[in-house]
Symmetry: D2
Subunit: 352 residues, 4 copies
């Protein structure tokens, strides 16, 4: 497909130039392995400053690793993790959370727009507690931010969910594969988007937003929460010997607010895409476009035309029936206004 027409995912992108430059700059000298290097040390400081609190940061190479390792820190093998029923950890990680926890269950809650409701969470926990030893033990809450439907929890929504979880002794994990996109939308501080509203552990993604391969598990607060996590990461095969090359990516990601600049570009092009598609006859935008994903129903003929024109995207199953065909469009830091315009034009043309 013509490259600028690829809206399949934000992980088809190359890495940002600043991140490639940081890799090259880190490629000097012999340095201590396994995280004993200066880049990794500095990363702790930088992340603490960004989040305005004590943190313990563990770089890893994939989002699945970040999520699964974080959940293994929170949930025992006989535990249950509450999440959206179509969360990435449920449907797209090939059972990684179950594997890393040694058997814990992902307990999916329904949600029309990817956002769990506090009442549904509370009810589910109480049902589980009633069932006693026969049911897995409620162990954690995991929220995806931005959600799998491209929506974004407000800080208040996060706080309300975390309050329910904490009231039952459950820690809160955030799958932030697209955390920067959410943050750019919220406009609040990273602290307000996380620990100030009850998030205990964050899987902070960078790969989809400009890195080559870099995510970080960030524990907020006392280091004891992260106790033994380094053993867990090592046992999972996720401790790099040449750790500097992970840490350097993340340092560059935060430097000069690259992460926010990249996210804003992705969000803005998604918004423009939605805006353009709203003018296409019979198009229906299916969710609030809060981040960098657009779910839109289009007439079958339009979708076929777009596919023939070489635009890349997925036909997407949606819970409620729609007129036409639902598709998912993902923008990224690399998406341009011209890319958007071309797509909208093709949709409009074929619809006419």
């Amino acid at each position: 497909m013509v490259l600028s027409r690829n809206f399949t995912s934000d992980n088809v992108t190359p890495a940002s130039p600043a991140i490639m430059a940081a890799l090259a700059a880190a490629n000097q000298d012999r340095v201590p392995s396994y995280g004993g290097d200066a880049h990794t040390a500095r990363l702790q400081t930088v992340v603490a400053e960004i989040f305005e609190t004590e943190v313990t940061v563990f770089p890893v190479a994939t989002g699945t690793a970040a999520n699964a390792l974080a959940l293994a820190q929170l949930a025992p093998p006989y535990g249950g993790v509450y999440c959206y029923e179509s969360a990435h950890i449920v449907t797209d990680e090939c059972g990684a959370p179950e594997f890393f926890t040694g058997g814990a269950k992902m307990l999916g809650l329904p949600a029309s727009d990817g956002k769990i409701a506090p009442a549904a969470l509370a009810a589910a926990i109480e049902t589980a507690l009633d069932m006693g030893v026969h049911h897995v033990k409620p162990a954690a809450l995991s929220l995806t931010q931005a959600t799998e439907w491209g929506t974004v929890y407000s800080a208040g929504e996060i706080g309300a969910l975390a309050a329910v979880a904490h009231a039952h002794g459950l820690p809160v994990h955030m799958d932030g594969a697209r955390f920067a996109n959410a943050l750019a939308q919220l406009g609040c501080s990273p602290a307000a988007a996380t620990w100030q509203n009850g998030v205990d552990v964050l899987s902070l993604g960078a790969t989809k937003n400009g890195a080559l391969c870099a995510e970080a598990v960030v524990f907020f607060g006392a280091a004891s929460r992260a106790a033994d996590f380094q053993h867990r990461r090592k046992q999972g095969g996720h401790l790099w010997s040449k750790m500097r090359f992970l840490s350097a990516q993340l340092l560059a990601y935060f430097e000069n607010d690259l992460w926010l600049a990249n996210a804003r570009q992705a969000n803005a092009t998604a918004a423009a895409l939605a805006q353009g598609l709203r003018a296409v006859p019979d198009a229906q935008i299916l969710q609030s476009v809060d981040a960098n994903e657009v779910f839109v129903a289009l007439p079958e003929a339009v979708v076929v035309h777009l596919e023939r024109e070489g635009f890349g995207f997925y036909r997407w199953p949606v819970p409620a029936p729609v007129a036409g065909v639902a598709i998912r469009l993902v923008t990224s830091y690399a998406t341009t206004s011209a890319d958007v315009a071309a797509f909208v034009a093709a949709a409009a043309l074929s619809s006419g």
Copy 2:
């Protein structure tokens, strides 16, 4: 420490320039994620050519991941993996093989120089079979090449061990974290060093020998041996979305025989180091220096002097008593003749 004085490990090195260049070259365009890219496709072809047989290749980022995933493919939770009792998979991977297999046991066999003896292997398997259901089921053999003692199995030695394993239905895994070093020493073809002598699966390391973060699990023969391995890798969090960046490293590693050139430099400097140290009074080289590691016993005063001079290395526990202190010295593709000369001179001086 002065960088050129760092003999602690071959993983303290930067990446080879050719590998960094390959990363930069791969950083173009939007391409399919999760291994659907052209680099990953080409890697299959290149590795098949190098090994002169059908292969299925899975790039991953760490050696621990390569070993643990490969062993999980071979051994069930109730299985036993025969290996050297101080193998990396036993002592240095924080239980990753047990974790990924879901409980299999690493059954360590003694060996004076890191090389298991066929008779010891046969005896251990037969004892296990006698114990029936109470003992883990013999499931696989894992050999490290080059070994943890810097020695190298000859092709014949590998064949003899593999014959014992195969006679009992056990597949053979090779932990080739330093496979290039071994191959450079053997001088035989990659095929002869592996599948032609019974190796079924190879963890092929590149990180210690010039890559940034790249290893590959290579299955020899029919693709059925690798059945479902892609699910296993994904569930372990080891499937990169931007896979091209792993594959590009490995392509550059093989291109122009970079892997062998790098390995030869490491081996040659290790040989020179051993040669130089043999002239130091009371120095005793403890093993055959076949690859890029030198184990040497030196008088305590010499070791202390070297440490004070800023040379980096580990004091190393050795099975048999030695006069003085045993240390491990590791060379790499980045080690120069001058580095070696400086070390030997410092040792000789302090010994005088």
Copy 3:
């Protein structure tokens, strides 16, 4: 509570006298441990005769063990097991299947009466296959017979589901915690109820139907299907040293058709209970009463009255709204007509 008023479950019962007698009879002499005894050998023969085919039988002490071990034989850690979304393996085994498989997912399908529909199964498998490596790999189908709603799959229904599973290469497991109750209802041969209609492995329960603690995992067909299952059972801590005491229970269970006699009594009293309750004003029987469970909605006041009178049962969450309160009543081989009459009378009285 008065004992005859206990309708909470069929596992609150004592053991049948014939089973206790068998235990006493087996308590003679020193015999080989771990299943090398004559009772265990004879059990293989007896079960093969009952099912009219080659079988491999593994006695264990709990139904959770039987199910979890059987599923571990069928599904890899990265596998998915299709089942009813409120199946016992999903909601009542504290994650045992996930634990024993090392991470497999129970993929729950909706069903109004506990019986999965072939079309829903086929659609789910195909969706999973479309998602490739990101989704767990379809690995097995598990049916509960009798179901969690006290309904019974007909032989034809089993065959139709098994056909879908087999068409995709998935083996079929049957959770037969109440298999005898189902068989008594079906009136067909044990063979027709299982392998002749595609069941590959059966968890055959005896504990709820008269045993003290005995279930059996039964593999139909070539012994290779059960390969290594004895290691799996041992590793799970489920291999008894004094195995004769498990096998003797199962032998007594089958002797003189005790299992069917017990199941018929349980089924008949459930039918009588349903029949009696249908005459109670505002009572609504919620499911087809095929085995030994009755789900009934009663006016709140009636339920409270029954509770106060010391009748034991659970208020039960049901998917669709009902008038009044839904409760579950379970009968057993120990339930008498008088027990039923007393319950119905109390319900009728309070309703008047």
Copy 4:
């Protein structure tokens, strides 16, 4: 073989009459399942009285389950459990501890008579700590009492080992498959044999010493140590629905000191056996006969004669070379003086 000639193991025995009687007595009425019954409640009290402290007791059916579940409570997947290198948990449980812990390593220490030395334990822990994240994290100490060599740790020896473990923050597990035999030999209180000398969790065996199928995991001290253990047991498939039948066995085991009476008979017949064999020419008793096992080296011809005469025992591999053939003889509560006399006579005769 003639039954009285079976010295293969103490698990070939039937159950004590008092235990069978207790089962029959418990077989009354419908009672709450899953441990909500009166027998299970009373067991907590009885065990607390016997051990003179607060306890939390979990009955299970096998010793492998008791050990593996107890260790899973103490050691994380990335943990190491120190034990004797030929401990039952290492060699005879088919990897159950690795499976239930999710990957922990059993770290075997050498010992000439089955008893670990405190200095060896301390050295091993310190080596592990030096290796940091690459090595599994020291997590627990497990002692077998009586040991696999039929020897018994004194209370002081236990205290010394526990002190080393506790000094490094490691809890202490005791595999008491033959705890009654050890206790009978020690002559001290159950408290002194366990928690007063640092044991935190005990796998207390009854099956080998008169029960049908009953073991108990006993946590000493605050109930928090046993937190969630009931979920762990359930997930392992080890929670019986008809729990009364496990608890009743254990109650009968403790009543009237049946456990000690049985153990004394086993120990006394072992002592008599050793005493008798010492008079046989060329016989060599290989270990201190502290409990109910005799390891003896006999001339090959004698061993062959005994085998031909129908005596049951295992030829046993022993670490140091012996003259003749080493065999293991196990006595039990069911062994009589006549059984012993017959064996000794046959050995003496053939040796003449």
